[in-house]
């Protein structure tokens, strides 16, 4: 058994992979990786690697396009596939949708359905395929980032980059927080062993690109939380700290993604 964070972190202020509390893992990304699709991306955060491709906006299939929502704007379809070899134990039954991947798919669909300017493409479908090649924590956050890149690559308009990040606490955090004696630190961008041990949440934020007159007056970009997901149990007094740290992480990731997008234009 390797060590665990909740024991050693208070002693060394180092996490199990050698990071400090506020450090992201190494994030690398490329876009236009698959020319056959409308837009595509490959993104890795640490050992979590995700490939994403976007098809569309295309004419929706007959049955669905006639539905109520179809007339108003494009429908976003998300399909998440966690590869059988993505985690430590190889899953025999690859391809079938399990609980985890369908939850991620639902969250992504809800997030991007409202995030994208879908009203520009009535009666059409934007389908996103997310393939998880390697899972090492922060799966939902990495998927959000990969989708954003692929959607940018596909040229689908959106108000700003939607980026996701996880944040957790360095202990079980089951008792109320004592502001005078803060024993627990928030942690940014959790890896799989940390996720299994600690409470954590996933937050996705976006910025609205200021338009028109406001642009001049309001120098600062406004950040909006678009996705917030938490499955673990912890005392509510910690949420605020975690949220702040997570949103900060999202901003860092946004800068990185912007770099990737701008860099690929140059190429």
């Amino acid at each position: 058994m390797p060590l665990d964070t909740s024991t050693t972190y208070p002693l060394t202020r180092l996490r199990l992979d050698g990071r400090r509390w506020n450090e992201l893992r190494l994030l690398q990304a490329q876009i236009s990786t698959n020319p056959a699709s409308s837009g595509s991306s490959y993104l890795s955060m640490g050992n979590t690697a995700i490939m994403c491709s976007v098809h569309g906006p295309a004419e929706g299939r007959r049955g669905e396009a006639s539905g109520a929502a179809g007339s108003a704007g494009a429908i976003v379809e998300v399909d998440v596939n966690v590869a059988g070899f993505a985690s430590v134990d190889r899953r025999r039954k690859a391809g079938g949708s399990d609980k985890q991947s369908s939850r991620i798919a639902t969250t992504l669909r809800a997030a991007f359905q409202s995030h994208l300017h879908t009203y520009l493409y009535p009666h059409s479908t934007i389908s996103i395929h997310v393939s998880v090649l390697s899972a090492d924590g922060s799966l939902l956050a990495a998927a959000i980032n990969a989708c954003t890149l692929a959607l940018v690559d596909a040229g689908i308009p959106m108000p700003g980059l939607l980026t996701g990040c996880t944040s957790g606490m360095s202990g079980s955090a089951s008792t109320p927080r004592d502001p005078r004696n803060d024993e627990l630190d928030p942690l940014l961008d959790l890896s799989l062993p940390e996720e299994q041990e600690l409470p954590f949440l996933t937050v996705g934020t976006t910025t609205c690109v200021p338009v028109g007159e406001n642009h001049m007056e309001d120098e600062e970009e406004e950040t909006k939380v678009a996705v917030l997901n938490m499955d673990s149990k912890l005392h509510c007094t910690y949420i605020e700290t975690m949220l702040a740290v997570g949103m900060d992480g999202c901003n860092q990731i946004r800068e990185l993604l912007e770099g990737v997008i701008k860099g690929s234009n140059r190429g």
Binding site: L3, T12, D17, R19, D89
Partner: protein, 1030 residues
Amino acid sequence: MKSLRRDLSSNPQASNVASKVFVRSTKSGKVQKIVRELYLRQDIPCSSKLCSLCPSIAPSDANGNIAPFVLSDRPAGTKAFPRGHYLVPDTNALLNGMDLFEHTGAFYDVIILQTVLEELRNQSLPLYNRLLSLIKTDEKRFYLFFNEFRLETHVRRGPEESINDRNDRAVRAVASWYEEHLGASAKKGKKEKSVPAIVVITDDKGNIKKAKAEKVTALSLSEYVSGLEDSEKLLDMISEAREARDSKGPIGQLFYPEYLSMSKMMTGLRAGNLHQGTFNVSPYNYLEASVKVPAFNKPLLILGRDNSNRAISGDMVVIEVLPQDQWKSPSTKIVDEEAVTRNDNPDSEETEAVVSQNERKALQEEVKKAHGKSSEGKPQPTARVVGMIKRGWRQYVGHVDAGSTGSQAASGRRQQTVFVLPMDKKVPKIRVRTRQAGDLIGQRILVTIDTWERDSRYPTGHFIRSLGELETKGAETEALLLEYDVQYKPFPKSVLDCLPSEGHDWKVPATKEDKGWNGRRDLRDLLICSIDPPGCQDIDDALHARPLPNGNFEVGVHIADVSHFVKPNNAMDLEASVRGTTVYLVDKRIDMLPHLLGTDLCSLKPYVERYAFSVLWEVTPNAEIVKSDFTKSVIRSREAFSYERAQLRIDDPSQTDELTESMRNLLKFSKILRQKRYDAGALNLASPEVRIEADSDEVGDPLTDVKTKAMLDTNSLVEEFMLLANITVASKVFDSFSQTALLRRHATPPPQNFEDLINQLSKKRGMELDVSSSGALASSLDRCVDPENPFFNTLVRILATRCMTSAEYFCAGAHAEPEFRHYGLASPIYTHFTSPIRRYADLLVHRQLASAIGYEGEDGHAVIEGVNTRGKLEDICRNINFRHRNAQFAGRASIEYYVGQALKARGEKMAAGGTDTGIDEEGYVMRVFENGVVVFVPRFGIEGVVRLEDFVLPGEAGSRSVSERRELAVHRTTHFDPEEYTLRVEEKGHPEKERGVDVELFQRVKVNVSSVKEEGRGAGKRRVRILITG
């Protein structure tokens, strides 16, 4: 298509990412390959106060606090390192010498590496936890250095390198980095000389050699320790296991069969061929043990050293049933280890066989008995130990067997091997190597077992510390506490910080507007009083009764509101949950809660206002309960009575005040309740209890302090209402928390437990015991009376109690509802509610009840957090059951010790007067063996083994010295009839009727009790000798 390969060249950070790849196998045998990222960095401080560079890069946590630097700028020096030194131990050094590292005299400024910590965790979880708590204390200056993440000290495993070699290399890399780093960064002004040396401590010879080549200072643990002051003391603390590994090249003669592999055991267990259970050694015969396995309703027998195969009482073992022709009957002999093997030499391993000549003889006779025809002598399923699931080893209190030390013991400092005889008779003697044998003789010492190899007849262990002289009060009390794992250290500061800041001046708030009054009923007008043993300080409970206008009565039980002061999950709560219960020794009380709460703020002292948790019933004059009500309250007790004073007041017809009347009512109700309980089938059990009044003056006969417990009506008055309160609360709590209510059950004992007793009673007295239900048992126990022997009934009750299982705490979800029954009390549901000051279970029940009645607490929302998860609750139950049992054992052992000491004091006084004749008492035979009997002496509440030599035959002088009597045993012979439970002792060659002594089961015998100096295991207790005189 673009290449998706990770392109690391573009990112400057990326070169610092390494990965750690390792393979592990899961429990189910699956092999997993794990890949982890490692972010290498240069901002991990060395944490030395000497360093001028690291403070600038030291990491801060989320609040911007920087961890203080740990390692001293003036580390202690030794002869070899006059400039001072930092220690860098490797894993083996910690495995072998954890006791040393915890020693307060040495081992300061230690750098613990991440590599080492991780390896240690894989090897031994207890040691890992001990190391962690060392790192957390400030005094010892242990620094946890995450070497794997520091760029300079990260070591990549070479292609052909074994993981051990890699880890050793990592340790050396850290040492040389520290050397270099401190050399470069030591604060200016400090001269070059003051840079401390970095000393790697390792027990691996290859590692030391390599270190030399790399110019790293490396020493073995013993080399290092021998350079310290008082090295002799410290050297003994190095674990024995290492020595064994080093010195024994080729394994010598193997005495014991090898254990099965884990997978073989698992297959066997699944197939049902093997069984798993706890190894339980018989208190009368150290060569006989039983293992209770779920597959059979009677425990399986394990006889002899070969079959026990290195198992020690308390181990979790896997056993295999032997073929039927090897089945044996349980022993009918008393076999004491020290008597049989007193001449074994601790040093000579070569000549000894597993079964020594003497032991073989002892076994032979048992085999003979195995073919007897009696029901007791019938061969029983016998098994042998084939595997070990988990060792139950702990630290043992014992003393050095003076006979096993060498002749030059007192003078020389030479290392020698001695035997340590544990206080617990069920544990075999432990072989310990020591250099201070001479000093240790006559001391109570603490030792631990390291290993029991196949080629060693006894387990090997090492010395931890000395508790003090044998028979001194301090040492014996500490020994008791250690032996029963009682937490007796003073409360740490973090616990005391949780106490109310007002201290003893704390008062119930005067105004009812105060938040302390939220949800509390004002019961200050009620005439409440408490009845407790004399001198009781922690008053848990108080009572009242008053007539109601409708002719019914209101009866109230008021319990100290401890949960008001002990909030869930704070340091005090955690400490209390670990302690579990208050432990009462004869002259000492080890509290569960700090003194301030237990004896003052919570204690329902008379004349002052106190918070309480009240249970109120409306009862009819016939003690039928009309309704019950629970509330938090404020009360003012009018008087604190002792049992005797309460009794006197009730019995005194001239007292007619309201308080006395209320007590009379209570007494009346309690009698009705008691009768109802017995009608429902409750058992009236007995335990051999005596009470010690230690505070009486010292001049008199010390034995007058020893009193058998008197049962007054007022005792049962309190008891009845406490039982009623507990039962009422139990059902209320269970209604609200169907899964997590904390309850107490007493399982119905399986009828076969009583087989022996039923048999004995029908044979010897023609009496019958009906065990079909608790009611039937109760009434048949009532019929077991011997008009000539008034104590006989109590004796039977004591024996019947021993056939039963013990009651236990559990949480409601763990058992089906019919299993909740409390057999002894004949109640379908039961819990503990009435003593929260001294039992943690009651405190939890208080919290649950508070939540069940919607009590909202001071701040408007009650928290029962931490109790509401079943898993956690089950952990707590396990712990408090364990603590409860141990507290009882410790209390009994304390009384036993006190009785022994009182007899000793008396003996010395008598000896001064010229004669030491002991004291004549009555005793009762509880068990008959082939070579002795077990006698119970009610006067002192002790039972003891009477061996052959302790029978005083007709026409023989009564008192002789121990050694003289021991000689006698050789000349005596016995006739033992296992079917009739009789034993006849006579001198060899003198079968005349009048020269022998006959004893039989349940017989009343005259005994002479005295305390004698005993060599061997009993030395500490000064065995209480019982002579049968007729």
